[in-house]
Amino acid sequence: MVGEGILKGMAETARNFFGSFVSKDRLTTVQYPEQRELRIEAARDFPFLVYDGADWHQGMRCVACQICEKECPPKCIFIEKSKDKKPDANGKPQFYPAVFNIDISVCMSCQICVEVCPFDAIKMDVDYDLSTDDRFGGLLLNKQRLSKSNEYYRKIHPTEASAVDARLAGERARQEAKAKTAAEARLTTTAVQPASGEPR
């Protein structure tokens, strides 16, 4: 019969149409922006800098090693190292970035900066509502706009953040244990040494 194939196809379309009233997987439209889809945990958009504690400047993990700047493929990161040092989470004085700019109109969200950072200082954010009406500076994020707290990081990427926290806590514990054994070793050696001029 002429048109038989078309009729078979239309039966298929009818099945989809009426089926969308009864079954969820045939009705897939999400009425954005009133409805939003569940955000997938691993999603990545643009980088941000992580800080520990309450003060974004004091607790920033970044030590301005500039590895992310060198490895970034489109060269969208611009870092200037500071001249002085400030103590990091372990108390050790480190350099910090005086200027840290990312041009997110150039950034292609490849995540290579995250992979190469040895200090877990830069991670991927999930915010994409970043449009602005300033074409020439509005998409250049500076250090302050980029800094977000570790609590925020735990909220957006729970599994990743807990793994990073565990690793950093383990390192801190190892450092403290090393410092303690070094201090104990110094104490015992000074106890053995006689004070000058005193008879044993």
Binding site: S105, V106, R135, F136
Partner: protein
Amino acid sequence: MNLEAIKSEIEANVPGCRLELVANPSPSGQHSLRTGAEHAVAVAVYLRDAEDLRFDFCSNVTGIDWPSREVSEKVKVRKLVDGVEQEVEEIRKTTLAGSLEVVYHLFSVEKKHGPIVLRMRTEDRDSGVHLPSLTPVWRSAELQEREVFDLFGVVFDGHPDLRRLLMWPSFTDHPMRRDYVGPDDYEYEPTAHDEVLRRAQQHRSEADETQLGEAEGR
């Protein structure tokens, strides 16, 4: 598939041709055969049609730019130093001429073997850039040789339709060459401003001046 055996087979069957086996130091083991320009088409036809080879699928045509470079080597030379003849080490510099190279990767659909890598070099990078086109042998070289012409400047003699592929027709340079200097008056922004606008206006006025000069017959 032994490349030495294939080389001797081709040299035996294509009169006058001389192939050079170029070793590939990487672990991939893909050594190549370099052929001269005069016998390239005959070698290609033999590779395509020989019963045991049947390389009927030209997969990839690449251009490579080897700019001229200086090599310095230490040479021991007898020279007069303070009246006494001694052997002295001297640094001698020679300039290796640059050339453009075209590399063909060939596979066989019928016999399912490959790849064979075929190479050709031009004489130099300025005027001696003619090479025979292998498009009459493998049709897949048609667009790829056009691209090598566009981006490197190799002129393929015998190509049915040699014109630029990716750049616009009135473009004059060859972008993939190692000494290509890109334009400095563009920016990521669609509307030029500040420094970029100044440079663009300068280029435009220079172009107007040369056009005016040509019109006046200067």
